[in-house]
Amino acid sequence: MKRAMLIGLFAILVATASFAQVTDDFTITVTVNFIEFQLMTADSSGAYPGWAVGNMNEGETVVMTTGGGGDHIYVKNLSNVPLDFSAYSNSPAPAGCGYGTPTAWNPGAAAGTDIYLLELGKGAAGVVPATYTIIDGTNIVSSDLYYTTIAGESYHMYSRFTTPISASDGCPHNITVTIVAATP
């Protein structure tokens, strides 16, 4: 019995010895590409409420206004990497309203029949953009890239919008513009 216990104890010691180990460590340092931005009012006091253009003539062009009380957009960039900013837009057929035949609008390179022209550009708080980029209806960054930021750079964005030169209806249209921030 004592012999058996000694053998068992020896086995445990051997086993313990075989698990003895030396440890070391190394550090992996990684920063995730954090991409976040917000569309805010021109004075950055709150979320952008939308651009209520109201009634316009056919083929008429309107530009977002400058200044803290203007209706342009302050793009608050919270990202830690440089980004390409692009956009796409669409406008489905509105509900019937009694004025013509409700028809979807599409973005185009020029205003046309039920085709609107939407352009975006980077300006300053009190200055409209010197140049604009035409925004189409597809999410392809290269085709409608309007600004490339440095990491964390916020900026003032303006829209220049031209109504269709001929519209099939006189109903309120809602155009959704989706701003896309992507790593180059």
């Binding site: 590409n33 013509g100 896309v180």
Partner: protein, 198 residues
């Protein structure tokens, strides 16, 4: 054991770049699943000034023409009630109503045999006068309510509410001189524009 050694040797035979690619590939695949982009939408709300009209008879059929016959030199002819133009206003904004009138000879008819009439406030030598009155109700208005129409856009009524219809009552003032059988085709254009004073 030899198998393990062979495997180890085999892996070490890769060029270092290839090994890095082999190691990174799973990571790259994982990253590609998480698109490196963020989106945020905003809305543009817009309504086009929709201007549309239709000219009908008081009976509801499309208005073709106002036929005037046997008018004497210098006479003024007003429409009968059944000849009044019913303007169906399909506009979504308030509008101003303008009109023009010109002598527009039909080249396929005997119209061209006669000198073209000029348009003046009143009829004269080879000139005619024309007036429109814009009415809410169907009635025969006094001549004085008519607005003089010329060959250039002439105002008939300001700020007609959106989608509110009108009856257009017309007067024709014949030239002071004319030839028996003289025939003309006049063309009056009705134009709606967004109201200057909405």
């Amino acid at each position: 054991m030899p198998r393990f050694n062979n495997l180890t040797t085999y892996r070490c035979d890769f060029p270092s770049a290839v090994r890095i690619v082999l190691i990174l590939m799973p990571l790259m695949l994982v990253f590609s699943l998480f698109a490196q982009e963020a989106t945020a939408p905003f809305e543009i709300d817009v309504t086009v000034n929709y201007i549309d009209l239709e000219l009908r008879t008081t009976g509801g059929s499309p208005y073709i023409a106002w036929w005037i016959s046997m008018v004497g030199s210098g006479d003024t002819v007003g429409m009968e009630l059944g000849e009044v133009v019913h303007l169906i206003n399909r506009s979504n904004v308030n509008v101003d109503l303008y009109s023009t009138i010109i002598d527009s000879p039909d080249s396929a008819s005997s119209d061209t045999l006669w000198p073209v009439w000029e348009v003046a406030p009143f009829g004269g030598h080879d000139s005619i006068g024309f007036r429109w009155a814009s009415l809410i109700d169907l009635l025969i208005p006094p001549f004085s309510t008519g607005q003089t129409i010329l060959s250039s856009p002439s105002l008939v009524e300001l700020t007609i509410p959106s989608a509110e219809n009108r009856y257009l009552y017309g007067w024709f003032i014949a030239p002071t001189e004319g030839e028996p059988g003289e025939r003309h085709r006049l063309l009056s254009t009705i134009t709606l524009t967004p109201a200057m004073v909405p």
